[in-house]
Chain length 169, copies 2
């Protein structure tokens, strides 16, 4: 049995220390290259500089011992109701306890409440991301496209999408 | 027969007046909504502020009478050799003379010279964009994916891609 999660506060506000924290979380996860870690941090920097006009929404799983994971998502410019899930990262010592699923469900609900009709996620075809792809597939995401060799000569982009339930009245 | 194009200088540098010029070009084209016109201008603003680190490359078709059209394109972050064509806009009174094709060919060649392996373009399924889709299809772009209702309930996203020829040695 997985250990239960510690008590969590869900925080949407982005604080000045978050970009460095996100850099560490993404780097420690083992899933991202240095250039990808830099992009993860950049989104938080941009959010701090521009606020919600940046288009980047954050959700942090905050426990007494620190941030255990976060999601970054937002409306896609020039669309009516399409949202992107940019990142979900869970601290390695907290994985396998349902925290990623909880972050995803909460991001989807917030997007739907703000008028989102669909959520999109892009990920890689590489074996490293097999668990990532299974994670999304188990939560209602369907493969909409595979762009061959998009990330690199041996690395396709897989585009997933899911229709969001309208928010409860 | 189409009228020949005036003599053109191809300009890559972005000048302080370009964001306003781009806004006018995009608005006058009749192809873009106000929110899309704002994004077109934003890319030029970002390029002026950040230089090539912005990831936005520009190519302006400059004639004595002004800018006749432009392309905006660039490498996609976190990929090795995938480039995006963000915008091609040609002034309405200059359309039908091959200027769009020339902008596209020059953007592709510059991308390939910088290590680009593929160029991607995203456009809309709406009838307004029939000529746009025919334009890309006639120049070697293949439909890689159609994301249903991506832009709006009646407006799919069509993703095109083309492998780029390696630059001549």
């Amino acid at each position: 049995m997985a250990l239960p999660l510690p008590q969590i506060t869900w925080r949407q506000e982005v604080l000045p220390g978050d970009p460095a924290l996100i850099r560490a979380l993404a780097a420690d996860s083992g899933f991202f290259r240095p250039d990808e870690v830099a992009v993860a941090q950049e989104l938080a920097d941009t959010r701090l500089a521009q606020g919600l006009a940046s288009g980047y929404h954050f959700l942090f799983a905050q426990a007494a011992e620190g941030v255990l994971g976060y999601a970054c998502y937002g409306p896609i410019a020039c669309t009516l109701g399409s949202w992107d899930l940019y990142w979900i990262v869970v601290r390695p010592d907290q994985q396998g306890r349902g925290l990623g699923a909880e972050l995803l469900a909460r991001a989807e609900a917030r997007a739907a409440a703000a008028g989102g009709r669909s959520m999109y996620v892009e990920t890689s075809s590489r074996p490293l991301y097999d668990p990532t792809r299974r994670f999304y597939e188990a939560r209602g995401y369907r493969v909409l496209a595979v762009l061959s060799q998009f990330y690199a000569p041996d690395d396709d982009k897989v585009i997933y999408g899911k229709r969001l339930d309208p928010p409860a009245a």
